[in-house]
């Protein structure tokens, strides 16, 4: 495991704010891992905790096999911070130089690597421009180049495509896939499903500091078949039947939704209901996609 957290908890204001609330996650080597959640879910807090920027209230975590308190492991980690800031009096090249030095890279290597990276993020033309003139998108691309300086094994990207235009987003996605294909592990935080859905191998959904669900993208998309059952008489209690058959049942706004493993199980349920003289009015299939699931759990506010 490249990232492993165990019951990680971070409280603010003496426990009034639970930014992380018993968060347990595992990320395998060579995967693109997407951490999804609405604003304020605790994604940034999690990444900062993994990097030793925030000290957890309780729980433990390891990255690249080392406890998070070991700062030396940062030599193999790249980090694109949300709303990062570089000294404004420096130009792009100087920033990569000084911060590369801080990562322990030598001058020779930096002289070779900096032009390559500036080229990769299309900033070569602005290499000697002081960054206070940079737009949000340019700053973000510089941040990405900075995160790749030390050729990291594990890359943390906190809202990486913020402020970047659609063409740039596509380029970043392609870049991340090629990095993944080189065996690197990439951990992406995002509140936008569309950003991670297409490239992630694994997804976790975080809300109120808790991991609600993890799995591969396929698992999310092909969730169990769901059906809405309509009855003539409003609130017909048939939860016992479902419980007996071990079928999950959700009741929202007078609608009954059951999740079944197969058509056979659905028919079995109908048989049971008919035998007990429930009057069915209709059965409506409800396909659940990752997006539906995401909207379900995180609410509308996330889809900006």
């Amino acid at each position: 495991m490249v990232v492993e957290t165990l019951e990680l908890t971070k409280h603010y204001s003496k426990g009034k704010v639970k930014a992380l609330d018993g968060c347990s996650l595992r990320v395998e080597k060579g995967k693109i891992f997407g951490l999804l959640g609405p604003n304020g879910a605790g994604k940034t807090t999690l990444v900062k905790t993994l990097l030793g920027i925030i000290h957890p209230t309780s729980g433990s975590a390891r990255i690249l096999g080392e406890p998070i308190s070991n700062y030396r492991v940062h030599a193999h980690i790249g980090y694109l911070a949300e709303n990062h800031r570089f000294p404004e009096f420096l130009n792009a090249r100087q920033i990569l130089f000084y911060y590369g030095k801080m990562s322990g890279l030598n001058t020779e290597l930096l002289y070779k690597r900096i032009p390559e990276l500036l080229d990769l993020v299309h900033l070569s033309k602005w290499a000697k421009t002081r960054i206070h003139k940079f737009s949000k998108g340019m700053a973000q691309r510089l941040g990405l180049a900075h995160a790749l300086l030390n050729d990291p094994d594990l890359l943390f990207l906190d809202e990486p495509t913020d402020g970047i235009d659609p063409v740039g987003r596509k380029e970043i996605r392609d870049l991340l896939i090629s990095l993944r294909n080189q065996g690197k592990t990439i951990f992406i935080n995002s509140h936008q499903l569309s950003e991670v859905e297409r490239i992630s191998d694994e997804i976790a959904i975080l809300k109120n500091g808790k991991v609600l669900k993890t799995g591969s993208v396929e698992e999310f998309i092909s969730v169990k078949q769901q059906y809405q059952l309509l009855f003539t008489e409003g609130d017909t209690p048939f939860s016992e039947v479902c419980a007996e058959l071990n079928i999950p049942l959700v009741q929202t706004d007078g609608l009954f939704t059951v999740s079944v493993e197969s058509d056979l199980q659905l028919n079995h349920l109908i048989d049971e209901l008919r035998q007990q003289r429930f009057i069915l009015q209709g059965i409506v299939p409800r396909k659940i996609s990752l997006e539906d699931y995401f909207i379900d759990v995180v609410g509308e506010e996330a889809q900006v």
Binding site: K48, L51, I53, H84, Q94, Y98, G104
Partner: protein
């Protein structure tokens, strides 16, 4: 090397501020003044005339007195205005490092928090030391070469000035780490800088106080706080080649700085950013 890059970046950041550039410019101006304004004519190995700003001084005038006088004056200037300006110019070096988005980048590097803080601290002290030694060494050299009078006490005075700045900067570092607010830390540091000389005359204050406990309180404060007035006097005495009666003000102030830095390091280590 990683540590050095933190020092280097702090240096760059200070230079980007115009204050240090102004400082260097003023120092250079003073040195130029000495080059052109002070003339000593040596004839057959003996001084035959001394002039300042073109005005001839009486022939029997003691050259040593002039040099020591000028250097004594310069060290007073450096101790007061120099430290005042240096504190002003470095006041946000620690607090900017702690700004959200900025601190993250430092902390995500393979360097310990202690290295980050000390790199920043040493970088700040170094740039001030550079400024002060620049003026002292260059102007001292010009004066000595022109007059043949070598006053090594001036160099020692510079050391004390830099140490005094370091002591006050240690206090400002702790305040910045607690408050994350540069201007606030600067103001409190100025307060200590100007308040501690008052403690020297605390005996006169005691007479006005009703309870002896106030006396203990002020005594305590005196021994704990940096002794800026006495270190100023020490600077002067060194520059004038006089005896130093007690080094206590220096070492107790340095002890204060060590404690400030220790607490700063501890708090910085424990904080989440």
């Amino acid at each position: 090397m990683k540590f050095l890059s933190i020092v280097q970046l702090t240096f760059r950041e200070s230079l980007a501020k115009k204050t240090f550039m102004a400082f260097l410019a003023i120092s250079t101006f003073i040195c130029l003044l000495f080059i052109f304004a002070l003339n000593v004519d040596i004839v057959d190995g003996l001084q035959s005339g001394v002039s300042i700003f073109g005005k001839d001084l009486p022939k029997q005038f003691d050259l040593t007195k002039i040099v020591v006088g000028i250097e004594g004056g310069l060290s007073v200037l450096l101790y007061t205005a120099g430290i005042f300006l240096s504190l002003f110019a470095t006041s946000n070096l620690i607090s900017t490092m702690l700004k959200p988005g900025f601190v993250d980048l430092f902390l995500s590097k393979p360097v310990s928090r202690l290295q980050i803080l000390s790199g920043r601290f040493i970088g700040s002290v170094l740039i001030v030391a550079l400024n002060i030694f620049y003026l002292v060494i260059v102007s001292g050299l010009i004066l000595s070469l022109k007059t043949g009078v070598w006053n090594w006490g001036f160099l020692w005075a510079a050391v004390i000035i830099v140490l005094s700045f370091t002591v006050l900067f240690a206090l400002m570092t702790l305040l910045s780490i607690i408050s994350k607010n540069g201007p606030l830390s600067l103001m409190v540091t100025y307060l200590v800088l100007f308040f501690s000389p008052l403690l020297l005359v605390r005996n006169q204050i005691y007479a006005l106080l009703s309870s002896k406990y106030y006396g203990y309180f002020f005594d305590g404060l005196y021994y704990v706080l940096p002794k800026t007035a006495e270190m100023g006097a020490m600077t002067q005495n060194l520059a004038r080649g006089l005896e130093i009666n007690s080094w206590m003000p220096l070492w107790s102030s340095l002890l204060f700085a060590l404690v400030m830095l220790g607490i700063s390091a501890y708090i910085f280590q424990k904080k989440s950013y």
